[in-house]
């Protein structure tokens, strides 16, 4: 579905997030993170008890680190909580639940969530702490574990450029998890650096086709 009529305010966009929701947030650390949307979530939303799916939980007082300080995160699913010592402290204090996933499995599970794949077998993590509670199965002599898809109510992503239909183009390593998350949520909001006319991104250069994008917000 694609019905985009120009960008909306970030405060309006984050109104889609309700208490108890699962929210995906793009970015590798702060690179490619939708910082304007995160700020709006911090400042203009009361939603709490959130499950955050993001590679990191920001940095102390930056990005998702602000939301963490507000005590609005119930659970984090990430590959690297360690980049925010306050997130580590919150986990150790029992204030938030943490689910640690190897980064490639994290990415693949989000892709699976968007692609209608109910599970996949990966050798990564087999025989380690992170396989606890997961089904193991041997293929061609190699132990694999069954991983389930990740999905969210709302995905907040960042792209350098959008066209007016919502096609997205990412720059450099700011792409990371954003195109995956855009596919795996009920509602996807894209924060973008610029909005260009329809047709200005050639078909072969579209990284995220517009059917995945529900609303556009300009970076502040």
């Amino acid at each position: 579905m694609t019905v985009i009529h120009g960008p909306i305010a970030p405060e309006e966009a984050v109104a889609a997030i309700r208490s108890g929701d699962t929210v995906m947030v793009g970015g590798f650390g702060l690179v490619g993170a939708p910082l304007t949307l995160i700020d709006a979530l911090v400042e203009a939303s009361d939603a709490d008890e959130l499950t955050i799916i993001s590679n990191n939980i920001g940095e102390p007082g930056r990005g998702l680190g602000k939301l963490l300080r507000q005590g609005r995160i119930k659970r984090g699913i990430a590959s690297y909580f360690t980049s925010n010592p306050e997130a580590v402290a919150a986990v150790n204090a029992g204030e938030i639940e943490a689910t640690l996933v190897p980064q490639g499995t994290f990415a693949e599970a989000i892709r699976a969530g968007g692609a209608g794949i109910a599970g996949f077998y990966t050798p990564v993590g087999a025989g380690t702490l992170l396989a606890e509670g997961k089904e193991e199965r041997v293929f061609d002599g190699v132990p694999h574990i069954l991983e389930r898809p990740l999905r969210a109510d709302v995905a907040l992503v960042y792209a350098a450029r959008a066209d007016e239909l919502g096609n997205l183009w990412y720059r450099g390593t700011a792409r990371n998890f954003n195109p995956l998350m855009a596919t795996a949520a009920r509602v996807t909001v894209a924060e973008v650096g610029e909005i260009v006319p329809v047709g200005a991104i050639e078909p072969e250069s579209v990284h995220t086709p517009h059917l995945y994008v529900d609303a556009l917000v300009r970076s502040r």
Binding site: M1, T2, R111, G113, G116, P203, V206, P209, L211, Y212
Partner: protein, 216 residues
């Protein structure tokens, strides 16, 4: 108007502005020429393009732009090209709003058989199963009966299944059926067809819940 065009025209009315629609070969392929330019529909073709435009003019044929029937198409401004895994990720993942497709049989519970005839022709499935399973809404377009008069809406499909319980809407030249609580229900009579005409052309009992046709 040709019977197939009438079916296509009625199916086209099911589509809403902004929707991403995948059209199968046959009757569904007649829809684009029936849609107004301002219909606001985005056509998806599973071989890797969202934003499929009209057939090219003579002399403007681009060998790198075809639809799933391998016929030449154009790409509209704002079109996106992608590989087959991404294309079917869209389909399987429920991001294509509507698939309009033909069928050989549809069961009264919405099972669809549209890819093979028993004993022969079981060597081509293409994207049929993916579309029927993955699209958010599946609209089947077909004549009510075969050329020899056999009803295509049946109790149980005897042709190989594409997917179970997948048809949301069935449009024939006689009627529109909608799946409710797991069963196809007659909701609209087309042309001058009567309920008895539809019963005669249908090999299964069905409920009738006629709706006012929306004005459009």
């Amino acid at each position: 108007m040709d019977v197939r065009d009438r079916i296509a025209a009625r199916a086209a009315q099911e589509l809403r502005p902004g929707e991403v629609v995948n059209l199968g070969i046959g009757i569904p392929n007649r829809i684009p020429s029936l849609l107004g330019h301002d219909a606001g529909i985005f056509l998806h073709t599973e071989n890797g393009l969202l934003g499929v435009g009209p057939r090219p003019m003579a002399g403007e044929l681009d060998p790198d732009l075809v639809d799933a029937a391998k016929q030449p198409v154009t790409a509209l401004p704002g079109a996106a090209a992608f590989d087959s895994a991404q294309s079917f990720a869209m389909i399987r993942g429920g991001h294509v709003d509507v698939a309009v497709l033909g069928a050989l049989q549809v069961s009264i519970s919405g099972d669809v058989a549209n890819w093979a005839i028993p004993g022969r022709d079981v060597l081509g499935v293409g994207g049929a199963m993916d579309l029927v399973v993955g699209a958010k809404r599946v609209i089947v377009t077909m004549t009510a009966t075969t050329p020899s008069g056999e009803p295509k809406i049946v109790r149980e499909c005897t042709y190989p299944l594409t997917a179970r319980g997948a048809a949301d809407v069935v449009v024939t030249e006689l009627a529109v059926f909608r799946r409710r609580d797991g069963a196809l229900v007659l909701t609209e009579l087309l042309g001058d067809a009567s309920i008895e005409d539809v019963r005669a052309a249908t090999a299964a009992p069905f409920e009738v819940e006629l709706e006012d046709r929306r004005a459009d």
